[in-house]
Symmetry: C2
Subunit: 223 residues, 2 copies
């Protein structure tokens, strides 16, 4: 049948476990579900991976490698204005967070770990998170005074990320507050990204929140 493509049950498990874990998370995903999805015997997980947790770590590792090969972090040319970089960063963030359903399971799984890291493999989650964080800090450094402390930069980064993640994590909350129409009309990823970008730029003294379309303008609206 299959020459040597994807038949070794180990790979089938890895694949199936990926989507099941991505859908349900570590706790709620059962070994039986995974084996059933992989069309593999129940004992196979323990035979090939030792136990459920080791399988999870393995899956996460693969997802991490796959994903960051296929979807590397954006890299701008040095000359790009930092406002543009921030805008891109936020938009990418919102896309990843809110459209993860449509993306391959790797993205979903990593997003899940980023948002609710499992106590199992913190070290691994760090590897997904830290690059994103430093990228953002780098952009923010271009947008803040020279003498800004590292601590303040980090808090600012958390302010940006906090805004983004909120819409993913607290979708239920948002749903109870804004109407269906409002959400359809004004709470789509692009619009949210624009709001967050403008809010942040305004906080950093670049542009103002509501008045002008100021993403790349030079208006020094100070008060």
């Amino acid at each position: 049948m299959t020459a040597r493509n994807e038949d070794p049950t180990r790979d089938r498990i890895l694949q199936a476990a990926g989507v099941v874990f991505a859908e349900r998370g570590f706790e709620k995903a059962t070994v039986r579900d995974i084996c059933s999805a992989a069309e593999v015997n129940l004992g196979a997980v323990n035979y090939h991976f030792g136990d459920k947790q080791k399988l999870y770590v393995e899956v996460l590792l693969c997802a991490h490698q796959d994903f960051y090969k296929k979807v590397p972090l954006p890299q701008w040319s040095e000359s790009d204005p930092p406002e543009q970089k921030l805008s891109d960063f936020v938009r990418t963030m919102m896309y990843r967070l809110l459209l993860a359903e449509g993306l391959p399971w790797q993205a979903q799984l990593l997003t899940r770990e980023m948002v609710t890291p499992s106590e199992a493999c913190r070290e691994l989650s760090e590897r997904s998170i830290k690059p994103i964080h430093s990228l953002l800090v780098g952009v923010l450094r271009e947008l803040t005074p020279e003498e800004t402390s590292e601590t303040d930069l980090e808090k600012t980064a958390f302010s940006v990320i906090g805004q983004c993640v909120f819409y993913k994590m607290h979708a239920p909350v948002v749903e109870t507050i804004v109407t269906e129409e409002q959400r359809a009309d004004h709470f789509q990823p692009d619009q949210l990204a624009e709001h967050i970008t403008r809010f942040t730029l305004s906080a950093l003294g670049r542009g103002s929140l509501f008045e002008l379309t100021s993403t790349v303008s030079e208006t020094e609206a100070n008060s």
Copy 2:
């Protein structure tokens, strides 16, 4: 309801279930734990409440009533400057979120529901969330131009709340990025509240983030 209370095991269960649910959440809290903590027979939960879920709803209802009688939302005098109101709001938020351990279990439980609402009783969670949200929107309205749309106000409110909630929800992430010392020195509730307040005010065109230490932060302004 019943004039006579004190010991009826029902109350003991309610009390014990409160702290156990607050600590571990609905899923991870076991009926055995609760009954053991209440020093009550295992079957008592089912006898008095039907099942675990009905008990949870009951507990949440009580917590909600208790908490909002004891700790009502802050109400300022009309004359208070809106900057002060925002500062108070954010600080209260951070205290509730980050110091919930020290607060009675009701706060912890409600915070938990606010942050990860259980599918069981969404309607109940709404009752905790909406007042907070409208309070914030009210404050923000004073801080934004008249013509600001309701939608923009709401996004701005989510920007504020997102920043606050981030430190609660993603504590693990923060821990991987900032060092222990940094956290002890610069990431305490008061300092985070100040950053968030200044970030937000700056975004709204009031004050600037890093330069001046103008805003209300240290001044003991109790009302």
